[in-house]
Amino acid sequence: MNVKKQFWDGLITQNPVLVQLLGMCPTLAITTSLFNGLGMGLSVLIILTCANVVISALRKIIPNKVRIACYIVVIASFVTMVDLLLKAFVPALSKSLGLFIPLIVVNCIILGRAEGFASKNGIGASALDGIFQGFGNMVALTIMCVIREFLGAGTFGGGLLNGGKGIQILPPDTVALGMILPVGGFLTLGVVIAAVQYFMNKPKKTKEVAK
């Protein structure tokens, strides 16, 4: 397994959110401010890496027939840890993400990587996969957050910069409230996916023509 390919897979070509379309529920629901996006992305990154390592280590012990239940037990224990840690040390984030932190247990990115990668590969590769896929997820969430926050609230870095208010860029009268609403989540996701696909397919086409 080469590390460079794994990195680009996680970031772009197999990006869990933008290409595999996994974990749509938090992607659409919580990407309304930079703080939420980064917090969610980091939590998923940590949980994904830990779960991948443990599941990879246990892959020869877990019986095939009950593997999903076993994965859920492993994932749920890490989610509980992160949930409690957030409640203790970053209560603001825990409050604004609310139910979506416990829901990481059934986040399809983590289950998907456990089933598709960690149960078939060694511990080192699985750890790297967790980090890269989690990073790809975090980048995608952050992009969505920045776009939606800018158009919908006119701010940058909400919850994080400027004492939690974010830096006001657009005047508050001119912002499109729709972008903060669920509608805006779907629109932004669609446009970002379209843009990523456009730029991913572009160089290939020119090469084919050149041939």
Binding site: T174, V175, A176, L177, G178, M179, L181, V183, V191, A194
Partner: protein
């Protein structure tokens, strides 16, 4: 579309000079009476808004096609119609930049990203309005009152004073806010039925005058640009429902029925938006289903919904259902009789049954 001059076809070799551009030109001509009434009621700002909107629609269409290396369709006037219709469904006091955002959403997101004219699944102007309604709820529901139009061309830039001085409720929003029995008295004192027919009421730029829209609609039907099935089914459904379930106290109240028909954007939606070729069904039966469905939704939204007016959302919802209506009303192939279809159905059923039994065994 009409640029294609060389065509190989079997007889009859009849040709007709009707193309996208000439159809769209007819629609623009049909919108002139409503435009004139809009300007008469709301002042020059309505005209300037329309011009700004049309220019920006064409710019966005041109820009997107240029960027994506597509053939540039600015000649076909469809973007101009989107621009005019978007202004027609917005209040006259709306700031220009908001209109431009609506143009961008309508042309780029709703129309071009789904493949341009002919493949957009929603009416671009209505989708633009829905987005503006979600994003800027306060300016989108600040209605100018009629008869106090600011005639000075400079008045358009006065802004806040102009907006604050002359706003009021539309007939439908009065109905929505008050309970139904007071509403009729209140509205009757403020807007008479004649005012509502001619257009001397508050509302969006294009929707106020029922008679101007009716003239435009009849022109389109006479020219063969639209078929009357959708508008007739649409308006008739609303008429029958509001006649039977009048909210003015008694049932079968004709005044209430006429008020509900003339108020809001029903005529505008029925003649100019529901009949959009791209987003309406292709079969006669389908067109009638489309009209009745949209009519039902209008009455439901007005009576039970969260908005005073439901024309925009009724048409958008029915647009989404067009593929289903087309599929359900697909006409039989030429030469296929009822018996043959019956036999085909039974054969398919038998095959399904056999497959099921096979898999069970």
């Amino acid at each position: 579309m009409d640029e294609l001059k060389l065509s190989v076809a079997s007889s009859p070799h009849a040709s007709h000079p009707v193309g996208t551009q000439s159809l769209m030109r007819d629609v623009l001509i049909a919108l002139i009476p409503a435009m004139a009434m809009g300007i008469y009621v709301f002042g020059f700002r309505a005209l300037i808004q329309t011009i700004v909107s049309v220019i920006f629609c064409e710019i966005f269409e041109w820009g997107y096609c240029k960027l994506m290396h597509k053939p540039i369709p600015c000649k076909d006037l469809s973007a101009a119609i989107t621009g005019v219709l978007l202004v027609f469904v917005c209040p006259v006091t709306l700031p220009y930049w908001t209109i431009i955002i609506g143009d961008f959403f309508a042309i780029v997101i709703v129309k071009q990203l789904f493949g341009g004219l002919g493949t957009n699944f929603l009416n671009p102007a209505l989708a633009g309005r829905a987005f503006l309604m979600l994003s800027y709820p306060v300016p989108m529901t600040t209605w100018a009152l009629p008869g106090q139009a600011n005639w000075a061309p400079l008045g358009m830039s006065v802004g806040q004073d102009y907006i604050d001085a002359f706003t009021g409720a539309t007939p439908l929003s009065i109905d929505y806010m008050k309970n139904a029995e007071d509403a009729l008295n209140l509205t009757a004192s403020q807007f008479s039925l004649g005012d509502m027919f001619i257009g001397n009421i508050g509302g969006t730029v294009g929707e106020v005058s029922a008679i101007a829209l009716l003239i435009g609609g009849i022109y389109l039907i006479c020219r063969g640009v639209i078929r009357p099935r959708i508008p007739v089914a649409y308006i008739a459904t609303v008429a029958v429902l509001t006649l039977i379930f009048s909210r003015s106290g008694g049932h079968f109240d004709f005044v209430w029925m006429l008020r509900e028909i003339f108020a809001g954007g029903l005529f505008l939606g029925a003649f100019f938006m529901a009949t959009d070729y791209v987003t309406s069904p292709n079969t006669p039966k389908g067109e009638i289903i489309f009209g009745i469905g949209a009519g039902l939704l209008v009455v439901f939204i007005r009576y039970f919904g969260g908005y005073p007016e439901g024309v925009c959302y009724s048409i958008l919802v029915m647009n989404i259902l067009v593929w289903l209506i087309d599929k359900a009303t697909m006409p039989a192939r030429f030469g296929v009789t009822k018996e043959m279809r019956q036999a085909e159905k039974e054969a398919a059923k038998a095959a399904k049954k056999a497959a099921k039994e096979g898999s069970e065994a």
